[in-house]
Amino acid sequence: MVKKISGRIYLSAIFLFLYFPILVLIVLSFNDSKSRVAWGGFTGKWYVSMFQNTAIMRAFATTIQITLTASVLATVIGTLAAIGIQAMRRRGKAILLGATNIPLLNADIVTGISMMLLFVRFTRLGFLTVLVAHLTFDIPYVILNVLPRLNATSKSAYEAALDLGATPLYAFYKIVWPDIRPGVFSGFLMAVTMSLDDFSITYFTKGAGVNTLSTMLYTELRKGIRPEMYALSTLLFGIALLLLLLINFRSARKNDIHN
């Protein structure tokens, strides 16, 4: 009993540690006073000025463009790559998987710098270089999510479909695709998460003029804290909460159907 209670207390303490800072941001986003500790009445004015702030809005738009483009392309390239890798012999597989692990394991700062060195030699830094950089670290996440699913897919079912007269493409769509779809989806989600949150690699490959939320906020935070950022935090937290709930609800419902 005592063990149970102390367990609950510990759990709550960690929970508080994780969520208290976010809670503070949310409360401050509605605070009429600029003070960080005193409550000056409820207001929505920081939200208004956030939406009127062109720098924030442009960074927001760029982030979404980069994230979605990179994630979709990474999902396509990564899924195809996974299918190809699975068909390979051991040696080729090992080499490709080894290379896939490099961007995952290497320090972000080194990945970012090494790509910057490559880009400035052959082209100018800008939107495109950021996109290429994001793709480079997104694709491995897709591959690592799809490959286990592919390995678990029954090869004989695919061959049976061919035996029954299906073309390879039709057999893939009808037999393999349903099996790997959850992996493709979670790979896509991982790519979205990584792209949304990336700072280091974007920072080194973006050049002047292009800003994602992360790099824009970095520059701003070095100058000082503005209350619009609280509003932005609350907005982003709300979006994240909504998205994760949606995904969880989806998978929970799928589980229920399974059971």
Partner: protein
């Protein structure tokens, strides 16, 4: 027929292979090239040996110290947490993932902002201290603030692998140990601990490497007063514009990353191996 199919399927990874060569291998070659040459383009080891300069050495040692501290704190916080969570026998494990992933979906900069608010001189901590009649403490722009920020940022990376390895231990294995006479402590030491070593190791790698190489957290929560090796490299590139020096130090950092991973993996295998035989 079969051969034809196989040939076609391998072909699908073609675009990715091009990608690997162009954007994974080539950049690394670039960093090696810059790191091993001087500004005139002739071979030198100076950029590598520059790590022994006092200012660089100090930054590297501080990075190692803070990364170790952060990893230790994360491990100490996460292990009991994973045990408690596992003991709850949640029907949906995804709920746990959800709770600990959610803060990570918030932009890193905004999470750092939150800690700036909490730790600043007129922030919440100091206000609470003051209202209790205690003296204010300088928290922001210190090493402690950087460790706070790192732990906050990386804790989920420690919790999830440990929790995963723990939830994979079958309840019948625990029952079997009890059945054979093990008490709670013996069950923990002989069964749970050895079976979660792999989770602990991946947790350590996932926390230690980013902590060692981070430069944003130290920049924003250390206020330029806490200089880590990441900050030194960033400054070489973005301020001093000495790309050769920056690349050389990056190579050193890469070696440390690889070495720490190799150390952990070797240690893990040794442990696992000892347990198997």
């Amino acid at each position: 027929m079969n051969f034809k199919c196989k040939f076609k399927r391998q072909f699908l990874s073609g675009p990715y292979m091009v990608w690997i060569v162009g954007f994974i291998l080539l950049p690394i070659l670039m960093i090696l090239y810059y790191g091993l040459t001087d500004s005139a383009g002739s071979f030198t080891l100076q950029n590598i040996t520059a790590i022994t300069e006092p200012i660089h050495m100090k930054a590297l040692l501080l990075s190692l110290k803070l990364a170790l501290l952060c990893t230790a704190v994360c491990l100490i916080l996460a292990y009991p947490l994973a045990m408690i969570l596992n003991g709850l026998h949640l029907k949906r494990q995804s709920f746990v993932v959800f709770i600990f992933m959610l803060p990570m979906w918030m932009n890193l900069m905004l999470r750092i902002l939150a800690w700036q608010l909490l730790l600043s001189n007129n922030g919440i901590f100091n206000t609470v201290l003051e209202s209790l009649g205690l003296a204010k403490v300088q928290l922001l722009n210190t090493s402690s603030a950087v460790v706070f920020g790192m732990v906050y940022d990386f804790l989920p990376f420690m919790i999830l692998p440990i929790y995963n390895s723990m939830s994979r231990i079958g309840s019948d294995v625990i029952d079997a140990a009890k059945d054979l006479g093990a008490n709670t402590l013996q069950v923990f030491l002989k069964i749970i601990l050895p079976l979660t070593v792999s989770g602990v190791i991946s947790g350590i790698i996932m926390v230690f490497v980013p902590a060692l190489t981070s430069f944003v957290i130290s920049d924003l929560l250390g206020g330029g007063k806490v200089l880590l090796i990441g900050n030194v490299i960033e400054q070489e590139f973005m301020q001093s514009m000495d790309w050769n020096m920056g690349s050389g130090l990056s190579i050193v950092l890469m070696v440390f990353v690889i070495a720490s991973m190799a150390f952990m993996n070797a240690h893990g295998n040794e442990e696992g191996g000892a347990a198997v035989w």
